[in-house]
């Protein structure tokens, strides 16, 4: 049985078919890359697997459990989808602290560790509104990994980052995968995909096809 099984998944929004009978079988503990042009459906696919949207047709099973019936979303999940979404009036640490209290599985130490791993300072008193684009993206990555999830869904995780940031994020993804996490990553950065992904899928016009990985 696949860890993630997407079966004939179709999503129609205001008459537009954004995902068109998508079929995927993804195994646990691997890194999967998703490539495709803007508007191809990558982000929508990630929303589907995250449980943020409901299908018009089809289904998603996570570890044998049906989304929107057995479970609302994958039980151990870290996501970066589109632009980061934190609270402007809170600091980086306060934002992660608020999120950590939703599930209540980690404490301050794990939050501080995650923030430091992405190259930010947990003591930084600046509110999120004052963060640069790169800082916001780093915080998003910290948010995704802080609870050591089994599944990481990362949409353009290196977007807006400098060289150091890109390097850190790539290393973090590999570390998380070594820990046992399954990683789905979408990126326009070809190097991200070629360095990280074991298997690649191409998304175009809402359809998903496996692609040969060029060594």
């Amino acid at each position: 049985m696949s860890y993630i099984e997407v079966k004939q998944y179709t999503k129609v929004i205001k008459g537009n078919t954004v995902l068109d009978h998508v079929n995927l079988n993804l195994e646990k503990g691997k890194i999967y890359g998703f490539v495709g042009s803007n508007g191809s459906g990558k982000t929508m696919l990630f929303r589907a697997v995250s449980g943020l949207i409901k299908p018009t047709e089809g289904s998603v099973h996570i570890d044998g459990k049906l989304l929107h019936k057995d479970i609302s979303f994958p039980p151990s999940l870290g996501v970066i989808i589109e632009s980061p979404g934190f609270w402007d009036e809170l600091t980086g640490f306060e934002n992660l602290e608020l999120l950590s209290k939703v599930k209540g599985v980690i404490g301050s130490e794990e939050i501080k560790n995650a923030i430091e791993r992405v190259g930010l300072n947990y003591k930084d008193a600046r509110i999120y509104k004052k963060f640069s684009v790169g800082m916001k993206q780093r915080l998003a990555m910290a948010q995704a990994v802080m609870e050591s999830p089994d599944l990481l869904i990362l949409d353009e995780p290196t977007s807006g980052l400098d060289e150091d940031g890109i390097s850190r994020i790539r290393n973090m993804i590999l570390e998380e995968n070594q820990r046992g996490a399954t990683v789905l990553i979408a990126s326009h950065n070809k190097e991200d995909i070629s360095l990280l992904a074991g298997k690649i899928y191409r998304v175009a016009d809402g359809k998903v096809h496996a692609e040969e990985k060029k060594s």
Binding site: L52, I53, K54, F73, V79, E82, S83, G85, L99
Partner: protein
Amino acid sequence: MNYKILVNKKIWKSWWIILPASLFVSYYYFNNMDLYNGMAGGKSFQLGELFLVMYGSLEPGLIKQVLPLLMLLYPLFLLVYYLGNDIQDFYKTNAKYIFTRTQNRMKWSVIYLLRLFISIIVFYFIQDIGTLAVGLVKGARVSCGDFKILFSVFLIQLAAGFFLLLILNLSAVLLGMTYSYILVFSICLFSFTVTGLISEYAPGIVEFTKWLPTSQFILGWHQENFTFAFTSIYLLVGFVILITAFLVLTDRMDIY
């Protein structure tokens, strides 16, 4: 050059708002002109007169009659500016991090409704401090009865603000910000206009105006046939319907 950029497409796409609004206002001015000139029904008039009355004339003396309405509405305009898309913002930005950690959407919808209500309290507290300051500086006498009135006014302000922002935030989630602003503005304008027209031209059915939403928020309009008990029940029913609709909608909707 691509001439498509010369016209904002939103204008064309909004013809179904612009045209009915124009029809409504033009008809209003037509009736006004008829009465102003003392003309009975059936007597002809020049088309140019309608255009002049509607777009080319304004009695300076009438301006001050508009000011009371604008003064009453400006705090609501500010409130809408600050809080009109508060809940929609949450669902567009923060929600993806929350609802991949918990399925308890209702809890977070309630948190944000509470945030909305608390923000309205703070807004009107600051607003009323200003009014209080002017009163005290100008030497207004103060008694216990005044505080009772202040408190009643404060409660009505909160109710009005919350009612308006609930409609706005709920419709924003469904329709988007632009159309929700238009919807709320239209409701207010329609409600006040109908009240004014009935009071002037059909005073026999003035009791009907107590059913209009904006009437609930004018303390001075409450009397024998339009009691505070009626307003309380009206608003309570309204809040229950709006909050229930909001919670049901946000519980089921996709998060983008």
